[in-house]
Amino acid sequence: MKRLACICFTLLGILPACFAQMDVQKKLMAQFIDADNNSVIELPEGSFTLNASLWLDGKKGVTIRGKGMDKTILNFNGQLSGAEGIKVTNGSNITIEDLTVQDTKGDAIKTQLVDGITFRKVKAEWTRGANEKNGGYGLYPVQCSKVLIEQCEARGASDAGIYVGQSREIIVRNCRATENVAGIEIENSLYAEVYDNEATNNTGGILIFDLPDLTVKKGGFTKVYNNHVHHNNHKNFAPKGNIVGKVPQGTGIMVLATNNVEVYNNRIINNITTGTAIISYYITENPIKDSSYYPYPSNIFIHDNQYEREHTKATMKGRMGKLYHFKLKFGKNVPHIIYDGIQDEKTKGQQILCIRNNTNASFANIDAANNFRNISREMKPYDCELKISTTSN
């Protein structure tokens, strides 16, 4: 019977489907599980349908290598077990390159507790495009150090396309993120550099967040530069409850409650709601029960960016939309840079935000702490410089 089915498939011209996919899966799994340290797991060219995660655990110096981003395709549509496509845990010096992971139920590639993890020419995508039923994260290193993500693509994640969480020493460069809720997100992470990326048609282009209730509480010392962040006006399709569900459609770069962040030399174009937003955690209206959490952004330096936007209204959707519509009333004259003005009593009088030398920038401090009573579009008070380092020394 099996043979008969095979022959039928062949007649239909779907020969690859016949290629006992289960055998391929078993072989790949065994390669991942039994990989020797300092070895290369070569994945063949072709499109493979898998129903369970490929998991590499406790290995050193292993490279997982396909034949090219669009040549080796692992598709997880129909996944029965394990939410991720590829998972790497407890390792060091791991490289994943030249492959595509598609349509996972959960995250596409998750790496946890890896010291030295490189993603190169890797694509994570949900082929139906933006959809709330897609998995949360595309490329997802968490609790890792020495993270390098380059020449990668992420498309369709219902949370963040490229998401680095609770990690340190991070480079994200030459990547492209599109049709995700968040294009690139750095969360509760230290010493990140995000440069030469393109983020377009996401809900928010690049997000730098610090959130409460996590083991790694304090991120920051991060630079975001030379990126092209444009047309991030996609409807927010994140399931509620996730913090990115609160990001308004039309956000370019957002810094939430993170300290020591420098945003410069970016082209921030046609993001309808805000080019760059600097906000505290209070704006999320989530309760804070974590007493060691610092909910304010500080030491933020925004300079030498190029801003452009069409003369159009900000989003009308969600709480932020309502805020723009009923409280801020900018009409079509929406400022490129928004600061919520919620400041720590202890840092009052200090320069915690500097904005200088941007092309075509406009600004508003929306005075969210006082029910938006004294909205100020005066940028002068923020004309200063800050020195921000992305190393621990």
Partner: protein, 348 residues
């Protein structure tokens, strides 16, 4: 050639048998077939243990897709597990834990036989705990080492007489670590006082398992009183609703969701030692839950199970959402009902 192999395998078995009885097992040698270890006497599928292979069970066990489990521990002769009240006992090198997963053909009548699906062996070797998964053949004559797992189709009649057909995903070797890891090391879960402190129906009659282990001389430093014990999750007479719900979450979730577990990225701790309500989910916002949030704001909203992410994720078998991640091809309806009740009665 094959014959020669069989002969040498036989010799190995005999040697293994000898080494098991004569001296403590120091170095463990992985075998291709479960039968090669000689843990069981007679037909393998009967799982009749050798004398030093001691059966045990847990007060509140981990749910695994409605499979039943029969568990055994082998402590090397002359060695002892060391009691502690908090966590997993310190077990001597050479200790072997054997867990068999099976489905009775009819859950109402054990006499109608069963089908054993897999056997997982956890061994304490000199460089730490290692997991060795074995998959049973359809003839039920033996189980074979397989690191990659498998998916089986299962049929049985459940407690209510309903015919059930389900897939059963046999985890791969790495997935063992999904549950059994603390920090970066593999550890047993059930071998802790609070899970073991209950009677077991031994051949000689029922006896407290810890006392039995003392009698068998495989446990050391058992105190005379104050031994912790989790509630039996499905016995309404055994502890308060809170006790039973926390015992259920402890064994089903706490092995990952604890400050050192693989799920500590979430900041949600469901182990029995976590006492602060916001840490075990009360009005806690999710982190990196993705579509697991189900459009809800908080892990637990007191009084409102239908708005609680914890409940939502237990109430689905979508692998992108379902919790726990493994052994959940079916929803555990009875466990779900307990958690529902617990959240419902929780004071805001």
């Amino acid at each position: 050639m094959r014959k020669l192999l069989t002969v040498s395998a036989l010799v190995l078995v005999i040697l293994a048998g000898v080494s098991f009885t004569r001296k403590p097992v120091q170095s463990f040698e992985k075998k291709e077939k479960l039968s090669d270890y000689g843990f069981f006497l007679g037909p393998l599928a009967d799982l009749t243990p050798r004398e030093d292979v001691i059966p045990y069970h847990l007060v509140t066990p981990l749910f695994s897709n409605y499979a039943e489990k029969s568990r055994f521990i082998v402590v090397p002769r002359g060695e002892k597990a060391e009691y502690n009240g908090e966590g997993v006992f310190n077990l001597p090198t050479g200790t072997v834990l054997i867990k068999n997963f099976y489905y009775p053909n009819d859950f109402r009548d054990p006499a109608k036989g069963r089908r054993i699906i897999e056997t997982r062996i956890l061994v304490h070797e000199t460089d730490g705990w290692k997991a060795y998964p074995y998959i049973w053949n359809d003839e039920q004559t033996d189980a074979f080492y397989d690191v990659t797992g498998d998916t089986k189709s299962i049929n049985y009649i459940d407690h209510r007489g309903k015919k059930v057909q389900t897939s059963y995903v046999i985890p791969n070797k790495n997935q063992c670590k999904g549950c059994h890891s603390t920090g970066e090391v593999l550890l047993p879960i059930g071998i802790a006082a609070r899970h073991l402190n209950t009677n077991f129906p031994y051949k000689q009659g029922p006896q407290n398992q810890l006392s039995h282990w003392m009698e068998k001389d495989i446990l050391d430093k058992l105190p005379s009183g104050m031994i912790p014990r989790n509630s039996k999750w499905d016995d309404e007479k055994d502890g308060s609703l809170d006790d039973r719900a926390r015992a259920y979450l402890d064994i089903n979730c706490g092995h990952c969701h604890n400050p050192k577990g693989a799920a500590n990225t979430s900041g949600l701790y469901l182990d029995i030692h976590t006492i602060q309500p916001n840490l075990y989910g009360v009005m806690k916002t999710p982190v990196a839950a993705g579509r697991g949030s189900g459009n809800f704001q908080f892990d637990i909203v007191p009084g409102k199970p239908d708005q609680s992410i914890l409940y939502y994720r237990m109430n689905t078998n979508d692998p992108g959402i379902a919790m726990p991640e493994i052994g959940r091809e079916q929803i555990h309806q009875e466990g779900l009902a307990l958690i529902r009740e617990w959240i419902k009665k929780m004071n805001p």
